[in-house]
């Protein structure tokens, strides 16, 4: 079980993340923060006419959050907004739904599929989805309010 969670591909991504680092220019950004573990990730999106040109990220955290962010940038860069949304939905279903749709595994690439084992560790699901929730917030901003931020314990604190 452990081997299927911490597969080589996940370890590789966490050690050598793709699309890592703040780009010089970007159209949208958003931060995800998991107050429980302190993981932080900032997602940057560069748009092109027909969709996403590139997704990049920076941040620090556990292997799962870093690998998931890295795989996300690979999977979504170059996609249309609709396709990116579909991949995101399938991925979230795969790692977080109580009963994931059978087709979700087929609607994401092999890299992302390799993360499905995280569902057996409910407390780690937030790590796997951190960058994806940040992306939704960034895209919501880029698309002027389509979607909107998910509520809950990630982000949005009030200074006391």
């Amino acid at each position: 079980m452990l081997e299927s969670l911490y597969q080589q591909i996940l370890l590789d991504h966490s050690r050598h993340p793709c699309h890592h680092g703040r780009p010089e220019r970007f159209d949208a950004e958003a931060e995800g923060h998991n107050p429980i573990c302190g993981d932080k990730v900032r997602v940057f999106v560069t748009l092109k006419d027909d969709g996403i040109e590139e997704v990049r990220f920076e941040g620090a955290g556990c292997a799962i959050s870093q690998a998931s962010a890295s795989m996300m940038t690979n999977a979504l860069s170059g996609l249309s907004i609709d396709d990116a949304k579909a991949v995101r939905a399938a991925f979230l279903d795969l790692v977080a739904a109580a009963e994931p749709d059978k087709s979700s595994g087929e609607r994401v690439n092999e890299e992302l599929r390799s993360m499905s084992e995280v569902r057996r560790f409910p407390a780690r699901v937030k790590c796997a989805t951190l960058a994806w929730h940040a992306l939704a917030r960034a895209l919501g901003e880029a698309l002027k309010g389509s979607g909107g931020p998910p509520s809950g314990s990630v982000g949005g604190g009030k200074t006391g």
Binding site: I36, P122, A123, S151, G152, S153, G156, K158, T159, G160
Partner: protein, 420 residues
């Protein structure tokens, strides 16, 4: 008239015929007890109800199979505990017809109302502002507001009741004005059983932009509660008044407040960032749940909600009402007995017996195994309004029976004889 002969159903409630108080009763280990050598007749349900086996078992099962740290652990056991905790939140939400993200776990009604009086009071109240409460309030929905007003230089106004024990809605309407920031009312009086028209109060308060806080302590055990339909900003309940454990309750916070109200307590589990220089709180209900949660209490609360859903509640209401009617009718036959409160209401009956102090009356009943409440019932302002130092109260649950009502009435008659 012999109330024991009354059918345990109200006319016109067909499903009610199926209701069997004995079947409910059998689920409560405590109800088999004897007191002073007599079978316990428990008529102090407004103080605290008994806990059914399903509630007890749910907590024992949690302690034996899912006990671990909630919301903080990475490990499997932590996830199991968190799941238990959060599904109790979902259960509580369904009871009040709210979404779970607006349900804050508390220690009970007193804790919930103090939280609101502290945080909302500090946010909304300034010099000369006004808070309206009613003469029906329990100390727990009276003193937190009185003290908040004292702290903030605001004015506490107390809406009167009518002689029959109903809230005087016209008087309340006249009391609400441009300075009114908060209206805090009980849903059901713990003394008179009066059901307060919360929706009407909400529309009156909305007219001046005031927030409405509802003390729901006595409601969910007896009435269906729908916070969205009521339209209130806050609604507080205690598990122990609806067959769950003490030390557990929930506070509904409307979407307008949950994410922005300043927490009343600070500590583990509600923090985003913590440093001397800057600290920020998370959003969502956990914002208001500093510290290790009372998971066992929440589990028991969730089981109590399930228990409430396990029988025909309309039928139970009809049964409770028939018991109430039997008590009122029976007391009506007893010389010098007097019932306080409106003709219609929740199954809570407060009464007096001329020439017998409430405590002596309760002691005579106690010696017969009949447990009732006597005293000011944490409602001193109401006692003053009624012109009595104390009353005796019989409060009903679905597990009570007409035979128990007879035991109560026998005891009252007995007290009348002793003190004749």
């Amino acid at each position: 008239m012999n109330p024991a002969r009354k059918p345990s159903t109200a006319p016109g409630s067909p499903g009610a015929l199926a209701f069997d108080p004995e079947a409910i009763r059998a689920q409560f280990p405590m109800l088999g007890a004897t007191m002073h050598g007599k079978p316990l007749v428990y008529l102090d349900n407004a103080a605290t109800t008994q806990r059914p086996r399903a509630v007890i078992d749910s907590v024992v099962e949690h302690w034996s199979t899912t006990n671990g740290p909630v919301s903080r652990g990475v490990h499997a056991l932590g996830s199991l505990a968190t799941e238990k905790y959060e599904s109790a939140r979902t259960a509580a939400a369904s009871l009040l017809n709210a979404e779970p993200e607006f349900i804050v776990f508390t220690k009970g009604v007193t804790d919930g109302l103090n939280l609101v009086a502290r945080s909302l009071g500090d946010e909304l109240l300034g010099e000369g502002d006004e808070v309206v409460v009613t003469e029906l309030e329990h100390h727990s929905n009276f003193l937190p507001w009185r003290q908040a007003c004292l702290r903030r230089g605001a004015v506490l106004r107390v809406a009167p009741i009518t002689d029959s024990g109903e809230l005087d809605l016209d008087a309340l309407r006249a009391m609400v004005n441009g300075r009114t920031r908060i209206v805090a009312v009980t849903h059901v009086s713990n003394v008179l059983g009066t059901v307060v028209p919360v929706s009407e109060i909400v529309s009156i308060a909305r007219g001046v932009g005031a927030a409405v806080v509802v003390d729901g302590a006595q409601a969910p055990g007896h009435l269906p509660v729908d916070v969205q339909r009521l339209g209130c900003d806050f609604y507080a309940i205690s598990a122990h008044k609806m067959f769950g454990p003490a030390g557990a309750g929930v506070l509904y916070m409307s979407p307008r407040w949950v994410d922005r109200l300043e927490p009343a307590q600070y500590g583990g589990g509600m923090v985003e960032l913590a440093s001397a220089e800057e600290s920020t709180w998370i959003t969502g209900p956990h914002r208001h749940e500093a510290g290790t949660p009372n998971t066992e209490g929440a589990v028991g609360l969730g089981a109590a909600v399930a228990f409430l859903g396990s029988f025909d509640r309309a039928a139970a209401r009809a049964h409770e009402r028939s018991l109430r009617d039997a008590i009122v009718a029976g007391l009506g036959q007893i010389p010098k007995a007097r019932v306080y409160g409106p003709a219609e209401g929740a199954p809570i009956v407060s009464f007096g017996l001329e020439g017998v102090h409430a405590h002596d009356l309760a002691t005579v009943l106690d010696a017969e195994g009949v447990a009732v409440r006597a005293g000011h019932m944490c409602a001193q302002p109401l006692m003053r309004r009624l012109g009595v130092p104390a009353l005796t109260r019989a409060s009903i649950a679905p597990y009570n029976t007409h035979a128990e009502v007879e035991a109560l009435l026998d005891g009252v008659r007995r007290a009348g004889q002793i003190f004749a």
